[in-house]
Point group: C2
DNA sequence: AGAATCCATCGACAGATGTCGATGGGTTTG
DNA sequence: CAAACCCATCGACATCTGTCGATGGATTCT
């Protein structure tokens, strides 16, 4: 509840209204941290690709697809991973990444909204030809 | 959709799969730009407050509420404004800000998800003593 | 008119961030 | 075992970002 708000038209000079925090600083910080992870075109594209992919995708494929070096892709993957959005799996030489299956609802809808913010390119409902 | 994917278990060394871009670079850039605006705890908190507020809120109230200087709050407001999320209105000495009423659906749901990503604090359903 | 208040803009600065090249560990092939 | 390949980590660097103090325009009160 935001508090005592003076009638918009007749405030007193030098008197500010007290705004009760609608959002705890900790929660704001947490949400912002997650949003920072999403707020990069490369990572967004990676997430969109993973969501649309029929199965796990390995780093080398991303390295080839984007105009970026391998360490950079690894760096982005590490961020996505530590944010809990993707998981990796090692198979021989390769390391495959995929989206986490069940994200907490609020995070899932945020991700969905972030990706849905974009013209969805095809019928992607997650029916992977999995491993 | 991701293209020619080698059966996950039998890839060839030195051969990367071609990933068709699920996301155009322009769209990724656009979405990332918007997400960057949201990816700051202060701005998130401001947006949450505006959403919960019964009416427009003036800069001085935010300046008083947060532990930040007035230029900093102005700076954040300018970012929110140029992102098209808020609008301002001048009344005498004061400048009031409020959320844009009708955002494009994808952006609205993104904003909603970002704010909804947070345990809506106490009974914040707009029980303000409004203006 | 003069003083006081509110706010946007500017310049400055520390810290965070994305990218790269180099290195090294781990795995498979020859 | 040696060579080839994949990938994570490290150090370096340029850029972006959040914050501040100072300044000046606009408006209102005395």
């Amino acid at each position: 509840m935001a508090a005592t708000e003076l009638p918009v038209l007749q405030r007193q000079r030098g008197v500010c209204c007290q705004l009760d925090s609608v959002l705890s600083p900790e929660h704001a910080e947490t949400a912002a941290t997650l949003l920072k992870v999403l707020a990069d075109p490369t990572r967004l594209s990676i997430l969109a690709t993973l969501r649309a992919a029929p199965g796990p995708v390995c780093i080398c494929d991303f390295t080839a697809a984007y105009q970026l070096g391998q360490p950079t892709i690894s760096h982005h993957m590490a961020k996505l991973k530590s944010a809990g959005l993707v998981v990796s799996e090692k198979r021989g030489i390769w390391i495959y990444y995929r989206l986490v299956g069940k994200l907490p609802p609020p995070i899932a809808s945020l991700l969905e909204a972030a990706l849905g913010c974009i013209p969805r390119s095809s019928g992607v409902d997650g029916n992977f030809r999995n491993a």
